[in-house]
């Protein structure tokens, strides 16, 4: 199967690269944040950084749900998974995220019934097949994933399945971006908006970026040329003095989003008053919990999770990397005490995490020299 197609056309990429270089003013530094971890992965996998002029710097944002999950929520998931009556289900990467006393894989090795699923619907099927057990799904993800959980819960309710609950850790993308824009640590010029989150929520939620903060945003797809074109669109806005939300990913994103998905989410979820984000602290109305009409399916209520806060290991600088203040190789333990095989921090676990992307595809020695020389 060949994947070489118009989204990876080298001649076109070179042409776009040349146009971006032509627009970059000498002496001006452009800081563009890619909000989504999927974009971070594409940027490093395909060496997009090498196609950009020195003046254009890409800053990695908080858009990897594994990476932003605080350790306390991992520990609470583990405490549910250890209950003998429970079959605990979660996505694959979640199994390796370190809690304060190990990860789910280690708890599974000690005998807990923990199963990896590819869809919350798989977790519901396990509940149907095991009526004498309690099946819990560890739900994480931004607005791309939340509709899948919502639809699964709608089906569970319709079928009156009583042995299925969800430990809900769904988060929303706009509040952390607003928190970053309010942060004095970081000066950003523009944003690459998350493509598949926007398939669900549309482009309108980003209008606060130009309106309130004077920052342009382009919603982008995930192929290398999608990203190159999005960076070009942002550079054109900055060059022409325009500041607006544009949609590069028109083949999958409607301006108004997916109204059916949004309706399902609004029926099943409600906003939490606040939620803790790794590296960003508590952010108001930034996460979802099950609504009152779905309380019977809420694992937090069924198992009375206490809501503990656990500090990150002292050596771990995931928070600074998540905020874009540090580049991954600048972390004290990057590539030494913290590797994809033995991750200390969540950013090294997920393939979308900035540290794992750097580790797998980045040019570590080059990055260190470059960062050192910039100080």
């Amino acid at each position: 199967m060949k994947y070489v197609d118009e989204f990876r056309n080298a001649d076109l990429a070179r042409a776009v690269s040349a146009e971006i270089s032509a627009l970059a003013e000498p002496g001006r530094h452009y800081k563009i944040m890619e909000v989504c971890g999927g974009h971070t992965h594409t940027i490093y996998r395909h060496g997009i950084k090498d196609l950009l002029p020195d003046q254009v710097e890409l800053v990695h944002g908080p858009g990897c749900p594994v990476c932003v999950l605080p350790m306390g929520r991992v520990d609470e998931g583990i405490s549910i998974a250890e209950r003998p009556e429970v079959i605990f289900t979660c996505f694959g990467d979640m199994m390796r995220v370190p809690g304060s006393r190990g990860n789910l894989l280690e708890v599974k090795a000690e005998g807990a019934d923990i199963r990896m699923v590819y869809s919350p619907l798989d977790a519901l099927r396990i509940a149907r097949e095991n009526p004498d057990r309690e099946v819990v799904f560890y739900a994480i993800g931004f607005e791309t994933t939340a509709p899948s959980t919502a639809l699964t819960l709608q089906r569970a309710k319709k079928e009156d399945i009583e042995n299925f609950t969800v430990f809900c850790n769904h988060v929303t993308i706009v509040p952390p971006v607003r928190a970053l824009l309010d942060s004095p640590d970081l000066r950003l010029d523009a944003f690459i908006g998350p493509g598949h989150v926007s398939t669900v929520i549309g482009c309108r939620p980003y209008e606060f970026m130009p309106a309130d903060y004077g920052k342009p945003c382009v919603v982008a797809g995930f192929e290398p040329l999608d990203l190159m074109q999005s960076i070009l669109m942002l550079m054109r806005q900055l060059d022409e003095g325009r500041c607006e939300v544009e949609n590069q990913y028109g083949r999958a994103v409607l301006w108004e989003g997916n109204l059916q998905a949004l309706k399902a989410m609004s029926e099943v979820f409600e906003l939490r008053p606040y939620f803790e984000w790794r590296g960003l602290g508590f952010i108001a109305q930034s996460a979802l919990k099950l609504s009152a009409s779905y309380a019977d399916f809420d694992a937090e209520l069924r198992y009375s999770t206490p809501g503990v806060r656990v500090a990150d290991p002292k050596a771990c600088q995931c928070g600074e990397v998540l905020k874009g203040v540090l580049k991954p190789p600048e972390c004290k333990v990057f590539g030494t005490a913290c590797t994809p095989e033995r991750p200390l921090g969540a950013l090294m676990v997920s393939s979308e995490g900035a540290c794992a992307a750097y580790y797998n595809f980045g040019r570590k020695s080059f990055e260190k020299v470059e960062i050192g020389s910039r100080r």
Partner: protein, 83 residues
């Protein structure tokens, strides 16, 4: 252009190689090959098939290209020309 080439032209993800499933932004373009109730059998660019829930993109039609995430279709994909 074959149907599978057309799917590949919409993006690189397949049901086998979809990036990070945990990540909120892994999405796979698939084509609907049969529909039964709220579920559809869909095929990706590499020919892999999977059962996908289609309530959130109803009405799904045979031959349409859907964007799937975690076993659920979250959008429809419309081909467009890159500039």
């Amino acid at each position: 252009m074959t149907m599978q080439d057309e799917l590949a032209s919409l993006g690189n993800c397949t049901l086998e190689n979809d990036g990070c499933i945990t990540c909120s932004d892994a999405g796979i373009p698939v084509r609907v090959v049969s529909i039964e109730g709220d579920d559809a059998i869909c095929e990706d660019a590499a020919g892999n098939r999977a059962e996908i829930a289609v309530e959130l993109v109803a009405p799904a039609r045979m031959g349409e290209v859907l964007l799937t995430h975690g076993g659920v279709a979250i959008g429809k994909i419309v081909a467009e020309t890159q500039t």
